[in-house]
């Protein structure tokens, strides 16, 4: 008989319960989800990524592994800066690409509009309550809503995620720190806040992902939120300790551009994102607002020192 739980001295259970759990255990053991996966495609894709690297092997590969890493935009719906989906990654035509040591940004071709999948038809509305038939960038400013007028923030596994779902998820998985002085207690690198922010914005909070152990210690990541209390708009910033694990890659359908901040290379993408690395830390700021100009973006980034 199998004993999943180690010594019975530790966990005592009655016979029936034990049998039930063993039954469940054998169901779980026999589940093979991989049968439905496309193993060959995963193999080819992985091989391609491994071989696809010239001289600077480790770096380029580690960048590629973080396709999911950056897909953020704050205060507007993120229409163009996106995680490259699996199949798309094999097919998408890369128009332009800029790489820093641990950061890679690609500009790819993407269609103007997207059809809404069957299962979501009739469930998504614009801000005035009109049903949306296809997605385009024109919804970027006002957002999309459910039938009850709740703002939609994401789609996950075919389901709609609303703002309140997101709040619940955040409370479960993130630790929030409001005190600026304490930020460095949780990270393995020195967190530097911008000295300059566009008018009206101020530090609101930091968030740390708790992980499955629920503990935040020597984190390689910190998420920072700056809020304009009058407009409710946010500036999002993430700082990462730079290494192979935290290196990231992102792609966008919009223009990308290399700029200098304090003499260091940085990448502006999507008109409102700026990414750079300095002294072993990766910085990513997202300032999407009509009121924030390009020079303001650079000025804010330059004040992180």
């Amino acid at each position: 008989m199998k004993n999943y739980f180690g010594s019975e001295k530790v966990v005592r259970f009655n016979d029936d319960e034990y049998k039930e759990l063993l039954k469940l255990g054998s169901i779980l053991e026999n589940k093979d989800f991989s049968k439905k996966s496309d193993k060959r495609m995963v193999y080819i894709k992985t091989l391609k990524n491994i071989n696809n690297c010239g001289g600077d092997r480790i770096m380029r590969k580690s960048n590629k592994t973080k396709k999911f890493a950056v897909a953020a935009s704050v205060a507007v719906i993120c229409f163009s800066l996106m995680q490259t989906s699996f199949a798309q990654d094999l097919l998408a035509k890369i128009v332009n690409s800029i790489s820093l040591k641990h950061i890679n940004v690609e500009q790819i071709e993407e269609p103007e509009t997207y059809q809404i999948p069957e299962e979501l038809k009739g469930k998504i509305f614009d801000k005035d309550g009109n049903p949306i038939k296809e997605f385009s960038k024109s919804y970027a400013d006002d957002g999309v809503y459910t039938a009850d007028g709740e703002k939609i923030v994401d789609f996950k596994d075919g389901k709609i995620i609303t703002e309140s779902d997101e709040v619940n998820n955040r409370e479960d998985n993130y630790m929030i720190v409001k005190d600026q002085e304490k930020l460095n207690d949780y990270t393995c690198f020195k967190v530097i806040l911008p000295q300059y922010l566009p008018e009206g914005y101020e530090f609101d909070r930091a968030e740390f992902y708790k992980g499955e152990n629920g503990v935040v210690k020597d984190s390689k990541y910190i998420d920072l939120y700056f809020v304009n209390k009058e407009t409710g708009k946010q500036i999002f910033m993430q700082q990462r300790f730079a290494d192979e694990e935290t290196a990231y890659s992102m792609s966008t359908g919009d223009k990308i551009e290399k700029v200098k901040i304090n003499g260091i290379d940085a990448i502006i993408s999507d008109g409102g994102n700026i990414d750079w690395e300095n002294n072993g830390v990766l910085y990513s700021m997202h300032m999407h607002g009509k009121d924030i100009s390009r020079s303001e973006i650079i000025k804010a980034a330059e004040s992180v020192k």
Binding site: F5, F13, S37, D154
Partner: protein
Amino acid sequence: MQQSVLANTLNNREMKEKLCEERDFEYIFETYYKRVYNYIYYRINCKCSAEDLTSQVFEKVMIKIDTYSEKKSPFETWLFSIARNIVNDYFRSLKRHKFFSLDSIKELISKEKTPEEILEVSETNDKLLEALQGLNSKERNIIALKFGGSLKNKEIAEILNITETNVGVMLYRSMKKLRAEMERED
């Protein structure tokens, strides 16, 4: 002339190294694909993302294979530590596009056209998968390591840096909760 001979030798050596690497990769991939994929799927329950993350795990394994030391830990422990980090990072970044990216829609569209999509839908209705949603990430991870990754409690203990006894207790609680969730769904 001499130069081209030299270049040839270099090329050959590179070729050989490459071939060698490919064989290693194939072996590792074939041996662990099912377990890695199932581990990830237990945690995230989405075919598209599970495929992508599985690919990332093997990519990282191949990049870091030179740094792996038998003396420090068994290979499986090392491999699943990588898998665990990649899934954690995925969750971390998911939240970053909470203002919703069009990409999630794109994924839906690309899935919609395939026969797998139909399977996928029936799969999400699966009682077990529904019940898994009721667990927190810690509970789900331990179930995933145990039954997706087919790891021994001792190996799980090493990966999570807790005692073996603790793994047993956590596993017991998580399975009990999972069973309760499954009954609740009825």
